[in-house]
Symmetry: C2
Subunit: 157 residues, 2 copies
DNA sequence: CTAACTCCGACCTGATTAGTCCTATATTAG
DNA sequence: CTAATATAGGACTAATCAGGTCGGAGTTAG
């Protein structure tokens, strides 16, 4: 369905949090996970991956956490998506993928590849800094994991 | 990975075949499947689906098959993709999907929705007619299902 | 030193997708 | 009429991948 994985969703949320909300630009995986109510371990894995690829830097220990290793304006959505979901591809096979069973007979490969390029450029144009919604456009709704009002309340800022 | 499903791939191939290669614009599921070396039953199901939605018209019987029910120039890629893969969505939840666990706390929903709209317009702009590669740009390579030369040979036109 | 907190990386599981099989119905050639 | 060929459509199985979990190693406060 042309969908991003949840890992990528979580990664975008985390990076956006580090870029705009985190005090001093630093936050632990736990803090971010609780902020957005997503599984801690899963987000941790995503952040680890982003650390290995140089998007964020990790600091172990008691007051450790992650912070952006590069300025938000210099990180495009395309980079993030490719980092987590792997190389952007519309079809199963690439333009030069001779492994593909249908390589010789396929007649839509090249046109679809052009479509891919266009989509890629959309993602490449938008940076992490632009991912921030307008302040007044954020509808904060109190909503617990299960029933509304149960568990740790979500802070409306 | 932001990928189209194989069903959609097959659907695009089939529609493109009907639009440009099929004699008199008519071809059976079997013919198309053999042309591109893809599973017959699977392609048949995709074509049945496209028939139900009015993209192609079916003719049963000995010299039956499918033909386009609408002109190729009037069918956008977006339509085809949504017909087979379902509504286009970048993220798991929609812009107004209050069912989403993170609806209240999510800060990337609206910006990502704008990205989705851009991608959608790319797909909406391109029609089936434009999916055809230039004649001289089609590299026809003889390639059987297993080893080269085995099984039914692929006809180079 | 020790305990609390953090990142790290391998593992498991369940949902989605791809592909197969079988039966029914319609049309046409002979 | 009958056989061959075509679509129609449901049910089933297999493979793949995303989502989620577990135990371990490093770092720092006290």
């Amino acid at each position: 369905m042309l969908r991003l994985s949840k890992k990528t969703d979580y990664g975008l949320l985390a990076l956006q949090y580090l870029a705009t909300e985190a005090p001093a630009g630093v936050a632990s995986a736990r803090t971010i996970a609780e902020r957005y109510d997503i599984p801690v371990e899963l987000l941790a894995k995503v952040l680890q991956h982003l650390a290995r690829l140089g998007f964020v830097a990790a600091q172990k220990g008691v007051h450790g956490g992650y912070h952006l290793a590069r300025p938000a304006r210099a990180i495009s959505l395309a980079e993030i998506v490719e980092a987590i979901d792997g190389p952007l591809a519309i079809t199963a096979c690439g333009r030069r993928d001779e492994q593909c069973e249908q390589f010789g007979t396929c007649t839509v490969r090249d046109p679809l590849s052009r479509v891919k390029d266009q989509i890629f450029s959309v993602l490449q144009t938008m940076t992490l800094a632009e991912l921030t919604p307008d302040e007044h456009a954020i509808p904060i709704v109190v909503r617990g994991r299960g029933e509304a009002g149960s568990g740790a309340p979500v802070e409306a800022r």
